[in-house]
């Protein structure tokens, strides 16, 4: 997830605090973080159009609450947190709007991945995304961050506000369920 070094991220954070530079600095934040944030959102929300909207909302919210970002957490952690919250809120809203259960929504996500034209890779990659979509929300988030982004548990813990031990358990359970998914495919 960290697209720049810690030192550069601190410099960027400092620039965000300067009234004369904050707009330019934020433009740089958008350029640097739009792709990793988009990918994180898109793994939760299969449709490109929805992910695009949520990515815009993420940056609008970050810009709107820039004065609340005091640099206690890393910039990337703060942005990731906003993006994850946006994705979870979107899924909740969709579930309420369509009056469907979590299971039904998972099936819907799998179907959307199946029908997704904006997808690269082979059949296995698509199947893996479908398996991940079948996971409970928390396990899905942990798996995405750990497996795809190769994020450290400590950082995931900061983003999700969950202990490292609980995250390790979630990841282990997620891998077990993916294994079961592929066993059922055979």
């Amino acid at each position: 997830m960290s697209v720049i070094s810690t030192e550069d991220e601190q410099k960027l954070t400092e620039r965000l605090r300067q009234p004369g530079q904050c707009r330019d600095a934020f433009g740089e934040v958008v350029r640097l973080y739009s792709e990793p944030l988009y990918r994180q959102i898109r793994r939760m929300v299969p449709r490109h159009e929805d992910a695009d909207d949520l990515l815009q909302n993420t940056f609008i919210k970050a810009w709107g609450s820039l004065e609340n970002f005091r640099g206690e957490a890393r910039l990337s952690t703060w942005l990731y947190k906003i993006a994850v919250n946006e994705a979870i809120s979107f899924l909740d809203r969709e579930r309420r709007r369509q009056s469907i259960s979590l299971d039904d929504q998972q099936q819907q996500l799998v179907a959307q991945i199946e029908a997704d034209e904006n997808i690269d890779g082979d059949k296995v990659a698509r199947q893996l995304r479908q398996a991940v979509a079948m996971l409970p929300e928390k396990q899905r988030l942990v798996f995405n961050m750990k497996y795809y982004d190769d994020m450290k548990y400590e950082k995931i813990s900061e983003i999700l506000g969950t202990s490292v031990g609980a995250l390790k358990t979630s990841y282990h359970l997620a891998v077990k369920k993916i294994e079961q998914f592929f066993s059922g495919q055979d």
Partner: protein, 153 residues
């Protein structure tokens, strides 16, 4: 688990997500252009706080003092409203008021109960009286006063 690891190994952490060509470059341009203006964080002038005037500095203390004065006045007013009549006022003793209003009673009271020292004071105030010629008894009583020399009477 081994089978899963094989599958995870096969994907090579590729999530297979594709985006329209030039999407991210276009998104960044679109996003930065649509960011709303926020003078509260972008303007230099709003960041610098205006120095406070002396009145602004003392105003909270003045308000606080006024508030305490108001409370004190209110308590004082309640106290005055609830206090009974002065116990030393003559109106509290109707018998005494009647007696003092009676001229005859006052005259008799003063004459009968006038003591020797009061009388001495009266005499001393007389300019013609020479105190050196006045016999000074050990104590002055009614009899001494009656036996005074004729020119002192």
């Amino acid at each position: 688990m081994k089978e899963t690891n094989d599958i995870l190994g096969k994907t090579g952490r590729n999530d297979g997500i594709a985006v329209p060509e030039g999407y991210f470059a276009d998104f960044a341009a679109r996003m930065t252009a649509s960011l709303p203006v926020r003078p509260e964080i972008e303007s230099e002038s709003t960041v610098l706080a205006m120095p406070r005037t002396p009145w602004q500095k003392i105003r909270p203390y003045v308000y606080m003092a006024a508030m305490f004065a108001g409370v004190w006045c209110m308590l004082k007013m309640f106290s005055l409203m609830s206090t009974p009549a002065d116990p030393l006022a003559i109106e509290s003793y109707p018998e005494l008021a009647d007696a003092l209003g009676d001229e005859q009673f006052v005259k008799e009271y003063v004459v009968e109960d006038l003591n020797q020292w009061d009388l001495m004071d009266e005499l001393i105030e007389d300019d013609d009286l020479d105190l050196s010629e006045l016999p000074m008894p050990d104590s002055i009583d009614s009899e001494s006063i009656h036996n005074l020399p004729e020119n002192f009477q």
